[in-house]
Each structure stands twice: as C-alpha cells, then as structure tokens.
Symmetry: C2
Subunit: 118 residues, 2 copies
DNA sequence: AAGATACTTAGCTAAATAGCTAAGTATTGA
DNA sequence: TCAATACTTAGCTATTTAGCTAAGTATCTT
C-alpha cells in the first residue's frame, strides 16, 4: 500500500507552494534563482511591471517558503529554498505512483480475463 | 546545458494546473481520482460544503485539464487526465536539475580552491 | 553634504475566487 | 405517473489578488 509523504500536518505548505507557482512571473523568478542567488533589482529587471508590484510577487514567494532573502546594505539578495519544491515533487510523485499501481492492476485484470475467455 | 521542457507555448497550462492544485479540496479530489473514476456525488460526499460550491471546484479542475468527465443518464463520472500532472512534474524536475547542476559546479569549484590553497 | 540607488510603505482600483441559498432540469425507480 | 436522485443554473456577498502611483527610508558614491 502506498502512503502519502509526510503531508497531513503541513497541508497549507502545499497550498501556498502551488499557489505561488501558479503565476508566470513567480515561476520565472524560481527559474532564475535555481541558477544562484540574485538581488531584487536583478530579479525584477526582465519583468515589465512597477517595482512594488514585483515586490509583491517576491513576498508571495517568501511567504510560501520557496524563497528566502537577506538584506545587506541597501541590497536584498534572494535565494531558493529547496525543501518546499521537494515537497511538491513528493506529492506529485505520490499521485503518479498510485495511478501507475492502478494501471498495473487493470492490466493484470485484463490478462486474467483474456486467459479465462480465450 | 539543460533546456526547459516543451513549455513556452503552453505557459498557461502550468498556470492553471498549479492554480487548480493550490486548494486542498481540489487536491483531495485528485488524490481520490488516481484510484479510479468516480461520480460527482461520490467525490463530493467527504467534503462539508454545498454541492454548487463543490461543483465549482470540479469545474476548476476540468478547466485546467487535470480532470475530464462524461455524463451518462443523470450521473457524471470524472476521471484524471495524466498529461497535465506530468507537465507539472516535468517543470519541477527541470528546476531540480538546474539546481543540482549548480551545486555540482560549486562543489567542483570548492575542490579546486582546496587543492590550490592547501 | 548631496544626489543617486535600492528598496519599502501606504493606499487605491478592478477582477477573480470561494462560499452560500434558492430554484430549475433531466433521469430513474416505485 | 410521481417522487426521488443527481446534478445544474442563477445570483448574491465577502475576501483575496494583481496591478498602479506617490511618497518615504536607508545606503552608497562623489
């Protein structure tokens, strides 16, 4: 039997991770940060929107735990936090496993029927 | 070099898939459906909300392409569509790869420095 | 010391989302 | 045929979200 990964306690962690990644601007930030840390201005520059608007996206990412940041002087440097991304992968992997297991059962069932009718 | 999976054309597919899964009710529906098809009432019964409210969640899942359904008589039967889930897995896997690759580079760099300073 | 840089805060608007109730339609079972 | 079942539609409300501008604070740089 396949059990869920960790999961039940921190339900809301998945909520906010999925939610944070549902926006293309925020996914672009993640895609950038997997290559290494970057400042707010660096992250913002490719995006055609007012800075406060962009900062809001960044805040969503930080609130979700996907991104952390430290401020030194006047520059805030952001980096990725791997754990929440791995939790997402875990959930999806769990679904795929259950799904695959079911397909296996169906295949086995079909073979049984084939044997008993042909 | 690691390239993104398909991606650029169907950006909005990722948007709506992530968005659909950001709600615990909707994730519970997916968790149920990986075990096999189910009717609307079956899916709704564990959830303490008005039926129209639940149907709305189901519509979000269908609009995102994660779930499909067919109506026969008065019963609508829902089932999972694997492709969008795999696209999500693909995106996450891509990020993980780039991230891992970067860690490798950092490790290699650290070894170089070690060799040249000790 | 003054100006430029890099955020940060405050506050507004429009649109989307999640929830509800009430009432309607189409099938099925008695 | 009539009642129950299984959705379905319509319409309302409250909250959240994404976007903006304007103005503020804290650090550099010269």
């Amino acid at each position: 039997m396949i059990l869920p990964p960790i999961l039940h306690p921190m339900q809301s962690q998945l909520d906010s991770s999925f939610s944070a990644l549902s926006d293309p601007t925020r996914r672009a930030v993640i895609e950038r940060l997997v290559n290494g840390p970057a400042s707010v201005s660096d992250l913002a520059s490719p995006h055609d929107m007012a800075l406060p608007t962009f900062m809001r996206h960044l805040k969503v990412l930080e609130d979700s735990g996907l991104v952390r940041s430290v401020k030194k002087g006047r520059v805030r440097t952001c980096h990725i936090e791997a754990a929440p991304l791995m939790e997402l992968q875990g959930w999806l992997e769990w679904q795929r496993r259950v799904w695959d297991q079911r397909l296996d059962r169906l295949t086995t069932l079909a073979e049984h029927i084939n044997r008993n009718t042909s």
